[in-house]
Symmetry: C2
Subunit: 348 residues, 2 copies
């Protein structure tokens, strides 16, 4: 089985965006805010939004299941206040649940969190519990910068975040560290802010004892770990200069990288420097880069084509990257089938 | 000749830091500010600070000349106001000039700029002119985020920066895009802020027509280009999705990467994906990573050891990376010897 651990519902029917626009227009005048129940979207509309996109690509590329969450760039935690964020988040997570109900073999849910700038992360706990316990989701996306490019929250290693981590550990779910859109004109979202956040998070983890406090807490750093594998020697050296333990001991029991790197030399580097146990296959397809590389004739984000032919990793390592690590890191997935995971949802 | 295009005076005698401390202590009470003339530092002290460090490493590693600028992390443009920044900048640049006078074969100067948050970049022009025309320097370091990690300045492609670019073009000098220390607790300076800034700058350049307005403007993105080469497919694909020209045409006549990547697989990736014409040898030695890699027995930042043995690049390309490109990008260096460059300073 090939598990794509990083997919967002980027192709949702237009009614979703229309609802969001109405919600944003009503900021400052809650009486005009749309109710969640007012979102009208048929199962056929949802099917149509996926059949030509994520599902077609799963078939074309020979991947089996996508760990699926709401569109990252649309989380936009900086818009409105905590109640704006909560309403939008619930709506988006419910929609992911509908996708998983319609296609229980193809998608497993991961939730957006109702973060809001300056609001304590424990406000996310009820929605996290709902998604894991009631919707059958297996993880969450955690935004290290709900301000959208101004980085005003404490680092991910600050005790500010601990109540949420306690709940993640209790529920046995990992978080993918994933920012949303940038409202800072310095940072292009998918070209700079996303990659910078990945690098930033790794460095925060490296300089802290977070994983002494939470030995079983797990994070996935997406987009191939930002700049980290390319600068692996730099990080190894900085850790050493700081008299920190080796990276393997310091954080590689807790931190994982996905394979959203859109060319073969990048994937080769990742596989060369990061242990196979710490790499999870992913494409983020229908995401930041939608085009076809004229040099290969294939989609840039068809990452299976980069990983598959690398012949200097063992079959055992390839199996870990494609399947085993995702089942281990998303431990509620474990040995179950996607259909079993989805069936575990109450009323699912 | 091997030219190291990226070195900072990180080992300056302690009197420099003491002066800076006194300057910072006097913020708010200018009457107590130290004068530049009060910095007392003998030539022997300067020699001693270099003989066991940069100069020893040049000899040990077989590199010939370092393009040398004030310590990047100490620029700290966010401290005080524009006059604080100007005084500190002049002092630091004058010290680089003294180094070049003492060792005219080993160092060529690049200047710090007296940037200050929210202050228009044209305020840097007099100091840039002084350094280029009077001190014999051949380039400058430009900080895209004088706020120190809050990114409050317009992007480097904004017209805000144009007066400075006009002067750079007139003087025929490139800028290395280099942030300073971070006062944002989210960003570790050398592990996150530096690398993020490199990635950010590249993406800013990619999404603008800056180089249509300034066809001869040149930037060096240090630290191997941040995350860019590792995500080369991503950038190529984003440019394509945005209907921008190919990267080669869009910015590779104006943007260069150094080789400050501290492990062999990273350097191999860089040389695989970035054209040899766009890579300048550099180590940033006595910089972010000072230790010895136990796996190789050599300093992490001894980057010559990574570049030299790569046998799938041509000798011509290797010569460009080690020497030719630096002479071309720092066009005031050109075909001259370092001694000739330094002798061109008025009173040098």
């Amino acid at each position: 089985m090939i598990i794509d651990c990083h997919g967002h519902y980027t192709t949702a029917p237009p009614a979703l965006e229309a609802w969001r626009k109405a919600q944003i227009a009503a900021i400052g005048d809650p009486s005009k805010a749309p109710s969640r129940a007012s979102l009208s979207m048929s199962d056929d509309e949802i099917r149509a939004s996926l059949e030509g996109a994520q599902l077609k690509m799963q078939r074309d590329r020979g991947t089996d299941v996508t760990i699926f969450s709401p569109r990252a760039s649309a989380m936009a935690h900086h818009i409105g206040d905590a109640s704006t964020s909560l309403e939008w988040t619930r709506l988006c997570n419910d929609l992911i649940r509908r996708v998983c109900t319609l296609y229980p073999d193809n998608f497993i849910g991961v939730c957006q969190l109702p973060q809001s700038p300056g609001v304590r992360p424990e406000n996310c706990i009820p929605e996290l519990e709902r998604c894991i316990n009631e919707l059958g989701f297996i993880g969450c996306n955690l935004n290290p910068d709900p301000s959208g490019g101004y980085w005003k929250e404490p680092p991910l290693t600050d005790r500010w975040w601990y109540p949420l981590y306690e709940k993640m550990v209790e529920l046995d779910v990992p978080a993918m560290v994933h920012v949303s859109s940038s409202c800072n004109p310095c940072f292009h979202a998918t070209g700079a802010h996303y990659i910078n956040a990945d690098t930033t998070a790794f460095m925060q983890f490296m300089t802290s004892d977070l994983f002494k406090d939470f030995p079983t807490l797990k994070f996935i750093i997406p987009h191939g770990g930002g700049a980290v594998p390319y600068h692996w020697g730099r990080y190894k050296g900085i850790a050493q200069d700081m008299k920190r333990p080796p990276l393997s001991e310091l954080l590689l029991r807790n931190v994982y990288f996905d394979t959203c790197v859109y060319h073969r030399p990048g994937i080769e580097l990742l596989l060369k420097v990061v242990p196979a146990d710490n790499i999870l296959f992913a494409s983020e397809m229908v995401g930041a880069v939608k085009g076809i590389d004229p040099d290969t004739g294939h989609h840039y984000d068809d990452t299976r084509r980069y990983v598959e032919p690398i012949d200097w990793i063992s079959d055992a390592d390839r199996a870990k990257i494609f399947e085993g690590n995702a089942r281990r890191v998303f431990s509620r997935f474990g040995t179950r089938t996607p259909r079993e995971v989805n069936a575990s949802a109450r009323g699912g």
